[in-house]
C-alpha cells in the first residue's frame, strides 16, 4: 500500500461507469442490510455483540472479512508480483498468528468477557485504571489501523476509478468515512457482521475466479507458473528465493524478524478481532469460528500465490510499476489480463469486478475498526471510568454511536491530510502495539495467578509507549529518503518495526510491575476468572 501512484490503472478510466455501478450496487445492498439489521437491535447485547446469535461459520466468515484488508488483497498480490518469494513469506505470518487466537485467547475471552477486550483485562483488577489503559490501547491500535486503511482507500479507489488529482482522492476518503459510520451507527455489530460476511464471500469468489483463470493458462502446473513469473520478473531464480525485499542488508533481515514476531503475536491482541468472539453464543462456537477463519484466510493466502506470480508472469513488473510503484494494482491488472486483455469486454468486466471487491474489502475493514474503537470508548472509558458505572444501557449505546461518528470524522480528516504516511508501516505498527500492549496483559490475566493491577498497567502503557516511541525515533519518521520527514533526522532506532524490542518489553514489564508492587492478587477473583474462562459457567 505504500508508494506513489503514477498513472491510473490502464484502461480503468474507460470502464469507470461499470466500476462505479458495481461499487454503488455493493454500497446500496449493504446499507439496506444494515438498516434491516439495525431494526432488530434492541439492547446493548445487540449493538455490541450482534445479540451473540451468529453461528461459528457465520462468524468465521465475518472474522475473515474483518481481517483480510485491502493491504492483504492488493498489497500481498503486489508484493509477490514485484518481489516474488518475499511477498509470499510476508503473508504466512498473518495466517500462523491465528493459532495463538485459537489455542490461547478465543475461548477464554468468549467465556469471561462481555463486550470489549477490557472486560477481560479488568476482570480481576481495579476497574478504572485498567479500563482506562485498555480502552486507550484499543483506540490507539484501531486508529493506526484505520488510518492505514483510509489513506490506502483514498489512493487505491482513486487509482481504480482513474480519478486524477488531490480533490478526487479526498472525496473518496470522505465517502468511505461516511459509509463506514452509517454501517456502524445504523447496524451496530449485527449490521457490520453481515457486511463483513458479504465482503468475505465476494473476496473469496473474486480471488478464486482469477486463480482458476491463471492456473488454467498454465495447464494447472504450478512449476510452469513459477518459471514464467521468474522469467518475466527479469530476476531469474533469485525471484523464487527469499531475499529480494527483506534480505537486502543485515538490518533489513533484522527488521523482517521484528515484523514476523509482531505479526504472529499481534493478531490475537487486535481489539476489532477480539470483539468478534462475543458475537457467538458459546466458547465452542468461538473455536469453530476461528477454525473457519483459519480455513478461509489460509485458502485466500494460498490463492494470492497464484495472483501474485500470475501478475508477474502475465502482466509483467514494468507495467505494474508504471501503474503503481508499490504494486497495489497488480491484482486488478491481472484480472484485466486474464479476462482477455486491455480493451476487451471480458477484461473490462473482470477489472471492474476485482476493483469493486477491493472497495468492499476496504469498507468492511474500516467498519469493523470503527465499531471496536467506539464500543471501547463507550463501554470502557465512558460508562465505567467517567460515569463510574452509573450510565444506563441506552446512554452507553448512544455514546457508542456518537463516538463512532467522532472516530469517523477524525479518520476522514487524518486520511485526507496524512496521505504521505506509509500505510504498510502503520499496519505493522498496529500489530506491534497489539502484541506489545494487549497480548501480554491478556495472557497474564488469563493464566497467571499472581498478576496484579500494576502489572497490567505497566505492560499496557509500557508496551504502548515503547512501540509508539520506537517508531517515532525510527527511519519511518525521519532520517531516510522514504521517511515522513525526509529532511530531518532524529532517528536513533534502526528498525522500522518496533516489535523485536517492544514485545519482550511488554511481557517483561507485566512481570516486573507485578513482582515489585506491594498489592497481592486476589485469589478469589482469579479462581472466578479461571473457572469461568475454562468452563463457560456464568458466561454472558
Amino acid at each position: 500500500m505504500t508508494g506513489t501512484m503514477q498513472l491510473a490503472a490502464e484502461g480503468a478510466s474507460d470502464h469507470r461507469g461499470l466500476i462505479i455501478g458495481l461499487f454503488g450496487a455493493f454500497v446500496v445492498a449493504t446499507l439496506a442490510i444494515t438498516v434491516w439489521a439495525g431494526r432488530q437491535n434492541k439492547d446493548a447485547d445487540d449493538y455490541y455483540a450482534g445479540g451473540r446469535s451468529f453461528t461459528g461459520f457465520q462468524n468465521g466468515l465475518a472474522i475473515s472479512g474483518d481481517y483480510m484488508s485491502a493491504a492483504s488483497f492488493l498489497g500481498i498480490a503486489g508484493a509477490i508480483a514485484l518481489y516474488g518469494y518475499d511477498g509470499f513469506l510476508y503473508s504466512i505470518g498473518f495466517l500462523v498468528a491465528w493459532l495463538v487466537a485459537l489455542l490461547l485467547v478465543a475461548e477464554p475471552l468468549r467465556n469471561s468477557g462481555r463486550f470489549t477486550m477490557a472486560d477481560v483485562l479488568a476482570y480481576r483488577m481495579r476497574q478504572r485504571p485498567v479500563r482506562t489503559a485498555a480502552g486507550t490501547s484499543t483506540i490507539v491500535v484501531s486508529i493506526f489501523y484505520l488510518l492505514a486503511q483510509m489513506v490506502g482507500a483514498g489512493t487505491l479507489v482513486a487509482l481504480l476509478l482513474g480519478i486524477d488529482g488531490e480533490a478526487g482522492r479526498r472525496w473518496v476518503v470522505v465517502g468511505v468515512g461516511i459509509v463506514m459510520v452509517l454501517y456502524v451507527t445504523v447496524g451496530g455489530m449485527k449490521g457490520t457482521t453481515w457486511v463483513q460476511m458479504i465482503k468475505a464471500v465476494l473476496l473469496i469468489a473474486g480471488t478464486l475466479l482469477i486463480t482458476v483463470l491463471v492456473l488454467n493458462k498454465f495447464g494447472w502446473n504450478i512449476s510452469a507458473l513459477l518459471g514464467a513469473a521468474a522469467e518475466s520478473s527479469g530476476k531469474g531464480t533469485a525471484y523464487l528465493e527469499p531475499g529480494l525485499k527483506y534480505g537486502i542488508s543485515d538490518l533489513s533481515k533484522l527488521d523482517f524478524i521484528s515484523l514476523a514476531v509482531a505479526l504472529v503475536l499481534g493478531t490475537a491482541g487486535l481489539p476489532h478481532i477480539l470483539v468478534r468472539f462475543y458475537t457467538v453464543p458459546t466458547a465452542k462456537a468461538a473455536r469453530k469460528s476461528v477454525n473457519w477463519a483459519i480455513g478461509i484466510i489460509g485458502a485466500f493466502y494460498l490463492m494470492t500465490i497464484a495472483l501474485g506470480f500470475g501478475a508477474a508472469a502475465l502482466v509483467g513488473p514494468d507495467k505494474i510499476i508504471a501503474s503503481n510503484a508499490a504494486g497495489n494494482t497488480a491484482a486488478p491488472l491481472l484480472a484485466e489480463a486474464v479476462g482477455g486483455g486491455p480493451g476487451s469486454t471480458g477484461g473490462a468486466i473482470l477489472l471492474a469486478v476485482i476493483s469493486a471487491v477491493a472497495f468492499a474489502t476496504i469498507l468492511a475493514v474500516v467498519a469493523g475498526l470503527t465499531l471496536a474503537s467506539s464500543a471501547s470508548f463507550a463501554h470502557d472509558l465512558w460508562a465505567n471510568v467517567i460515569r463510574k458505572g452509573k450510565a444506563s444501557e441506552k446512554e452507553e449505546v448512544l455514546t457508542a454511536k456518537i463516538a463512532a461518528i467522532a472516530i469517523g470524522a477524525v479518520s476522514i480528516v487524518l486520511g485526507i491530510f496524512a496521505d504521505k504516511l506509509n500505510t504498510a508501516a502503520l499496519v505493522a505498527l498496529a500489530f506491534a502495539v497489539a502484541a506489545s500492549a494487549n497480548l501480554p496483559t491478556i495472557l497474564y490475566s488469563l493464566f497467571w495467578k499472581r498478576f496484579t493491577t500494576s502489572g497490567a498497567l505497566w505492560s499496557i502503557y509500557g508496551g504502548l509507549a515503547s512501540s509508539v516511541l520506537l517508531v517515532v525515533f525510527s527511519p519511518v519518521l525521519s532520517g531516510s529518503e522514504t521517511s515522513l520527514f525526509p529532511d530531518s533526522d532524529f532517528a536513533f532506532f534502526p528498525l522500522s518495526n518496533p516489535g523485536l524490542v517492544s514485545i519482550p518489553l511488554g511481557f517483561l514489564l507485566g512481570w516486573l510491575g507485578t513482582v515489585v508492587s506491594k498489592e497481592k492478587a486476589d485469589p478469589a477473583k482469579f479462581a472466578e476468572m479461571e473457572v469461568r474462562s475454562l468452563t463457560g459457567a456464568g458466561a454472558h
Binding site: 518469494y85 509470499f88 513469506l89 504466512i92 505470518g93 495466517l95 500462523v96 493459532l99 489455542l103 490461547l104 475461548e107 469471561s112 462481555r114 479488568a122 476482570y123 504450478i222 512449476s223 510452469a224 513459477l226 521468474a230 531464480t237 523464487l240 528465493e241 527469499p242 531475499g243 527483506y246 534480505g247 533481515k253 523482517f256 524478524i257 514476523a260 514476531v261 504472529v264 466458547a283 469453530k288 483459519i294 480455513g295 489460509g298 493466502y301 494460498l302 463501554h379 470502557d380 460508562a383 465505567n384 458505572g389 452509573k390 450510565a391 444501557e393 478469589a524 479462581a527 472466578e528 479461571e530 473457572v531 475454562l534 468452563t535 463457560g536 459457567a537 456464568g538 458466561a539 454472558h540
Partner: protein, 132 residues
C-alpha cells in the same frame, strides 16, 4: 448491568464456589488437559514459524535448492507452514471436543446447579441458573 464482569451479587453461585471448584479434582484435570496440550503446542508452532523465518533470512543456499522443476525448498517450507497451521487447528479442535468440552460442561452444570440444590435443601424458592 453496567459494570462489565458479571456482577457477583446478581449471580447465584457464591464467591467461594469458584474457589471450591478451582481446588477440586475435576477442574484440576480440565486445566491440566488444556494447558498440557495448548501451551507446548503454542511454543512448538511459534518455534517452527521462527525457524522458517530465520532460514529464509540466513540460509539462502538451502532455501534455493531445487526440489522439482521451479519449485524450491523455500516454496515447499512455505506451503508446509500452511499445512502445519491447518493440522494444528484440527488437532486442537479434536482434543478440545474429546477431552475439554465434556469436562467443562460437567463442571459448568455442577456450578449452575448449586444454587438450585442449595435452595431445595432449604426448601426455599429456587435461584436462577446463571447462564445468559
Amino acid at each position: 448491568m453496567d459494570t462489565a464482569p458479571p456482577p457477583p451479587q446478581a449471580s447465584p453461585p457464591e464467591p467461594n464456589v469458584y474457589a471450591e471448584v478451582q481446588a477440586g479434582a475435576e477442574f484440576g484435570a480440565l486445566r491440566r488437559s488444556f494447558r498440557g496440550f495448548a501451551f507446548p503446542l503454542t511454543v512448538g508452532f511459534i518455534a517452527w514459524y521462527m525457524l522458517y523465518v530465520l532460514l529464509s533470512n540466513y540460509a539462502g543456499g538451502l532455501m534455493g535448492t531445487t526440489v522439482v522443476g521451479n519449485i524450491n525448498v523455500a516454496f515447499v517450507l512455505g506451503l508446509l507452514q500452511f499445512a502445519t497451521t491447518f493440522g494444528i487447528a484440527w488437532l486442537y479442535s479434536r482434543h478440545a471436543g474429546a477431552k475439554l468440552d465434556p469436562r467443562a460442561e460437567a463442571i459448568k452444570a455442577d456450578i449452575e446447579g448449586r444454587p438450585a440444590r442449595a435452595a431445595a435443601e432449604k426448601a426455599a424458592p429456587a435461584g436462577k441458573g446463571g447462564a445468559a
